[in-house]
């Protein structure tokens, strides 16, 4: 012990006090500054809109504001994803006392026009006067009254389109880190786990495992070498799903806060973000959040004098879907091939680097601060009997309003596709939606009234998955879709276990054959035979679920398969059969002939 430990403690106390005050100060400063503006331009600066040119739009807005000398009166905010990505770049104008106004497909020209024709006149209004945008701008309006906006219930996504994810003060002002402070100041880890248990939160990464239960398991495991880990799974390899990318990109602090609370509740000492390398924006924002949190004393030893210590690091994936699987993810973090290994031992007993670890999805963690702040009841009053809260979906494919949506669990397919999504983009009849990505299955149009929740989806051979939702219309071939997903899982199989590696490949060959019109009834039977065995005998969930798209389309759209059978006569189809396993290749050994007789047969 240091001799004058009292003195030291006194000093430290002051430091912690100062740190807490800093947080309050940051928040107040932000609010004051925000209050000093009369209006704000919110421009979506997330991946989708960015690739549509949001960067230029923001520059144009800035430039125009300067020209009109409005830079001190109008606040420019680069936000996270606003949701309706297909109409991006999006920009929302909010003027004190007036209704917010959303513009779609904004480019730099339009941005200048908005400043000149909308902001400038609107800011000049005298009391009592009202303002209408001109007809040209009106055409560019995206009504905020659309069911797309009104029908959603945003919890996780709430702040995404409304704040600057890089502004730490803004996060604090929106209630950020209040949950964390509440937890370390007033609650025991047991109490935290209890609140999460009461809320009914289940994992959003696919499996739907009760989060509190996972935390209980980790809490019960003794640390190894003084360490326990909490891992944030931001691998999101499911093609066509980008919820986690947007949540991390637009709300990395919320996820970090969720992780910190999880750590407190479980005794974890270190956190790891495992983020897909294809998501540069998410990576950048997580990095920033970690830096800011460190800077303001929210990460480190004895955080704010609470006695709780926690650090977190960021690591990237490198393009392997299977690394979303827990055991593979840990292998990958350890610098190895991402091959899953059998459980037990479960990660909560023996995980990353052999130490107890719990893995949580991005969205799962993002829900945690809200639950702590607003209480379990706020969360579990929404949803169905067994699936609580809201779920974020990436609504894509042939749907009019394609984008990120968040709805209460139990919302029907109909509501999501037809109301929020505005029906098919082609106007042609809706045929099916695929949920759960390559692990999931289809929901056919006759099941439009099915509520979306873990159990119902499982019942029909699909799954919640991480939240991809692909809408298909009359033109889409179900055989093609199933083939597409299968080719994805075949590509992404780690290749360790025979059922998945070979079974998936064989199924894909059969699908190719059928799609080419060369298949017959036996091929369909074989598909089912292999598929059923893959489900049981594959080592990890990738292989266990890989046949789902085929089996599920076979279940609901068998006639589409049958229509393709025996289109091309057998002799014809044999012509371009693959060769058998290539002939053995011997080499004359340097020590002399081995009697292989290859030289005689010419092979």
């Amino acid at each position: 012990m240091v001799e004058n430990s009292d003195e030291l403690n006194e000093k430290l106390k002051k430091v912690y006090e100062q740190q807490r005050q800093n947080l309050v100060k940051m928040k107040e400063e932000f609010l004051q500054k925000k209050d000093s503006y009369e209006a704000a331009i919110y421009t979506c600066n997330s991946t989708g809109c960015n690739s549509g040119g949001a960067g230029n739009v923001i520059d144009a807005f800035r430039h125009s504001l300067e020209i009109y000398g409005l830079q001190d009166r109008v606040r420019m905010v680069s936000t996270g994803c606003m949701g309706l990505c297909a109409n991006g770049p999006l920009a929302r104008i909010e003027i004190k006392g007036q209704k917010p106004f959303l513009y779609k497909h904004v480019d730099d020209m339009l941005a200048r026009l908005i400043v000149a024709e909308h902001l400038v006149p609107a800011l000049m209004l005298k009391k009592g006067e009202t303002f209408e945008v001109n007809s040209f701008l009106k055409e560019k309006e995206l009504s905020l009254e659309l069911p797309f906006f009104t029908k959603q219930r945003k919890v996780v996504l709430e702040s995404l389109g409304h704040s600057d994810p890089e502004d730490f003060g803004e996060y604090l002002a929106n209630g950020g880190y209040q949950a964390f402070l509440k937890v370390i100041d007033t609650m025991t880890p047991e109490q935290v786990r209890k609140v999460i248990a009461d809320s009914g939160l289940r994992g959003r990464g696919g499996g739907g495992f009760p989060t509190a239960k996972k935390w209980e398991l980790l809490a019960a495991s003794a640390p190894v070498d003084g360490e326990k880990f909490i891992i944030c799974n931001g691998d999101e390899g499911d093609p066509g799903a980008y919820m986690d990318a947007c949540i991390l990109g637009g709300g990395s602090h919320a996820v970090l806060e969720g992780m910190m609370i999880a750590a407190y509740a479980t005794g974890a000492t270190h956190g790891w973000f495992y983020v897909r390398a294809e998501y540069p924006l998410a990576i950048q924002r997580v990095e920033l959040a970690l830096k800011q949190a460190k800077k303001y004393g929210l990460l480190g030893k004895n955080i704010l004098g609470s006695g709780f210590s926690f650090m977190a690091d960021l690591r990237y994936g490198a393009g392997a879907f299977v690394c979303g699987e827990e055991t593979a993810l840990m292998e990958s973090l350890e610098g190895k091939r991402g091959t899953p290994h059998p459980r037990p031992p479960y990660p909560t007993e023996k995980g990353l680097f052999g130490k107890p670890s719990a893995i949580n999805n991005v969205e799962t963690l993002a829900n945690v601060p809200v639950i702590i702040r607003k209480g379990a009841a706020f969360f579990n009053s929404v949803g169905t009997e067994t699936s609580k809260g809201t779920k974020v979906f990436a609504l894509t494919g042939k749907v009019k309003h394609s984008g990120l949506v968040e709805v209460p669990m139990g919302t029907t397919v109909e509501e999501i596709v037809n109301e929020i999504g505005g029906g098919t983009s082609s106007g042609k009849p809706f045929k099916a939606v695929q949920t759960g990505g390559p692990s999931g299955g289809v929901i056919p149009s006759q099941m439009l009234h099915m509520p979306i929740c873990y159990e119902e989806l499982k019942k029909i051979g699909s799954m919640m998955g991480s939240g991809g939702m692909i809408v298909m219309d009359q033109d889409d071939s179900m055989v093609e879709i199933a083939k597409f997903y299968l080719s994805f899982t075949v590509d992404e199989s780690c290749g360790k276990c025979a059922p998945c590696r070979i079974g998936g490949y064989q199924m894909l060959q059969l699908m190719n054959k059928i799609a080419a019109g060369k298949g017959n009834q036996e091929d369909v039977d074989e598909l089912v035979e292999i598929g059923e065995v893959m489900k049981k005998a594959s080592l990890c969930a990738l292989g266990q679920t890989a046949p789902n798209p085929v089996l599920s389309t076979l279940r609901f759209f068998r006639e589409e398969y049958e229509a393709l059978l025996n289109k091309i006569p057998e002799e014809e189809s044999k012509k371009d059969d693959l060769p058998l396993v290539s002939p053995p290749r011997r080499e004359c050994l340097p020590t002399g002939c081995q009697d292989c007789s290859a030289c005689k047969t010419g092979k």
Binding site: G495, I502, V533, A537, S538, R585, L589
Partner: protein, 583 residues
């Protein structure tokens, strides 16, 4: 202890036991392909599926739990196993007739157990099948087309042997067994230990077949073929002819070799006795005269030599310079024996029958392997190859009468025979070193603390004329790192060496578990074979190398004395640093 039910029968096993092992207690042998008792289960094949409380799990890697109800067989399980096997076969060539592993291929056996009558799924061909066989090492052959990706070889090469030559490249269907960068094995860190071959369930990894060359030499009237058998071969050769591991087949093997047409049948054990004379004297020299570095390290295992040359080049001066026993017999055959018999050494073909794949590499390792003026050993065969030759010749091995080896390179002491197990070289050396230092025979010749396979590293201190000799024995190259690190640290600090003498054998268990032995080695088999050698030792008239009369004669007639100039020329060698990767 955990109580559970397997197929409705009560079983009680230790906690942590796998379902697979527990099932053996009720006489159920669940089919497996990727599992090997030496290794951690990788759970790759999916054949060993059973049902636990209605759920399918892999039995090889699932530990038992209290109250578990396991079903190892029902229509669903059988169907699942059949389909998995059918899938594996759809990615495998039907080449059993011409496959070196066919007799003990685990895949072939499973296929025949399940009784398939045709290929069920269409065969899959992939581009990496086109890669030619890797024969570059001339010791082991890799045919990736026959690989079922069980991962055993990778685990052995990386974790057990700590060599890291083999690895998996790519993923999914393109996943295959290879060397980093897809280079040939010969340019890789491979030390030719053959442990991958010994653990591979299929014909994807086999020895480099040299039997053709030996047959041709035997048929050649101009050649004078001489053969010798290594210590560990005698306790494994019977396995190919229905005997149990560990059963001594020495004398029947002599007889069989003679019938194959070898003109003289020698025994490597004789060479082992000579090795001890040289190595023992070398140790005494290093201890007493301070000539050469301590600890001295054994060098009779070529895979180990290759390992050290690659991974510890700074320590090769610690090697004993003495050649390995079969090289000694080789060079003596082409010099001493040839002279004695008046045969032109050029006509002599020396064939070694070894438990080892690395000896195939050793015989050409450097110029000292040609010290007779010709290549001292012409061909090195494995136990498996010689078994095949005996079968080809139609010799009914088990019915043969016992015969003796030929003089003057055929008689051996018990010390020579125990070279075959881990700790044996050390034991033999200590027996003679004791005599050389104290002038007296050791009282109890069984030095148990360094014998056997229970520990990877075995240490002991032994009192020799008031001086304490500290020795260590390691088997499996994965175990040497720890040992050599201690030595290196002491050296760097300029401290007294922590050991005086170290024995290393590359293969777990020593040569009894060598890469050229009948495949399917397990600890059980290693123990039985070790036991066989112990019996051979106990049965021997002389159990110390220096007491072998033929060895004494050799020195009298030819070499003068241990470490003489002549002995140095013929029986000693040099080592060179070798890069881990050639490129």
């Amino acid at each position: 202890m955990v109580k559970l039910k397997i197929d409705h029968i009560d079983v009680e096993v230790e906690a942590g036991t796998s379902i697979l092992d527990a099932a053996k207690k009720v006489q159920v042998d669940i089919p497996t392909l990727c599992y090997h008792p030496d290794l951690e289960p990788t759970a790759a094949c999916g054949l060993c599926i059973v049902k636990v409380n209605g759920r399918m799990v892999r039995s090889c890697c699932t530990p038992v739990a209290e109250g578990m109800e396991v079903l190892t067989r029902d229509p669903e399980i059988v169907n699942e196993r059949r389909t998995v096997l059918k899938l594996i076969l759809s990615r495998h060539p039907n080449e059993c007739l011409t496959c070196l592993k066919n007799e003990n291929c685990e895949l072939r056996k499973k296929a025949s157990d399940f009784g398939f009558r045709q290929d069920n799924f269409k065969k899959i061909a992939l581009s990496h099948d086109e890669a030619p066989l890797d024969t570059s090492t001339r010791t082991i052959v890799l045919d990736p087309r026959k690989c079922i990706l069980c991962g055993r070889c990778v685990q052995v090469c990386q974790n057990v042997q700590d060599v890291w030559a083999l690895c998996f490249l790519n993923r999914g269907m393109k996943n295959h067994i290879a060397v980093a960068g897809n280079i040939p094995l010969d340019e890789s860190p491979c030390i030719k230990c053959g442990q991958c071959v010994a653990h591979c369930p299929t014909g994807a990894l086999t020895e480099y077949d040299d039997t053709g060359r030996v047959w041709r030499a035997l048929m050649d009237p101009d050649k004078y073929c001489v053969v010798q058998i290594a210590p560990a071969v005698r306790v494994a050769i019977g396995e190919a002819f229905g005997k149990k591991p560990g059963e001594l087949g020495t004398k029947k093997l002599y007889s069989a070799l003679r019938r194959l047409g070898f003109k003289a049948v020698f025994d490597t054990n004789f060479g082992a006795d000579v090795t001890i004379m040289e190595e023992g004297s070398e140790l005494v020299q290093r201890l007493k005269e301070g000539k050469g570095k301590l600890p001295m390290i054994t060098s009779c295992c070529p895979a180990w030599v290759d390992y050290m040359q690659k991974y510890y080049p700074d320590m090769i001066e610690h090697f004993s310079t003495c050649k390995s026993p079969h090289e000694i017999v080789g060079v003596l055959t082409k010099t001493y024996y040839a002279e004695k018999m008046g045969i032109n050494p050029e006509k002599i073909m020396v064939v070694s029958v070894m438990p080892c794949t690395a000896k195939k590499y050793e015989i050409r390792r450097n110029e000292t392997m040609f010290s007779s003026g010709w290549q001292d050993v012409d061909v090195s065969l494995t136990t498996r190859e010689i078994s095949r030759m005996i079968k080809q010749a139609g010799i009914e091995f088990d019915k043969l009468a016992d015969e003796e080896a030929d003089s003057p390179l055929g008689d051996y002491s018990g010390a020579g025979t125990i070279f075959g197990y881990s700790g044996g070289v050390m034991e033999a050396a200590l027996r003679t070193a004791h005599y050389l230092i104290t002038g007296q025979e050791m009282k109890d010749l069984d030095i148990l603390p360094i014998r056997g396979i229970d520990k990877g590293i075995k240490e002991m201190q032994i009192d020799l004329a008031g001086k304490t000799l500290k020795v260590a024995v390691a088997h499996g190259t994965g175990n040497v790192n720890k040992l050599l690190t201690v030595v290196r640290e002491a050296m760097e600090k300029g401290e007294e060496p922590p050991y005086h003498f170290i024995e290393v054998m590359a293969c777990p268990g020593g040569c009894v578990g060598g890469g050229g032995q009948p495949v399917g080695v397990t600890d059980e088999v290693r123990r039985l074979r070790t036991q066989g050698l112990v019996e051979d030792d106990h049965r021997s008239e002389q159990r110390e190398s220096h007491l072998n009369p033929d060895v004494q004669k050799l020195y009298d007639e030819f070499l003068e004395k241990p470490l003489s100039e002549k002995a140095h020329h013929y029986l000693h060698t040099i080592y060179n640093a070798v890069p881990v990767y050639k490129r």
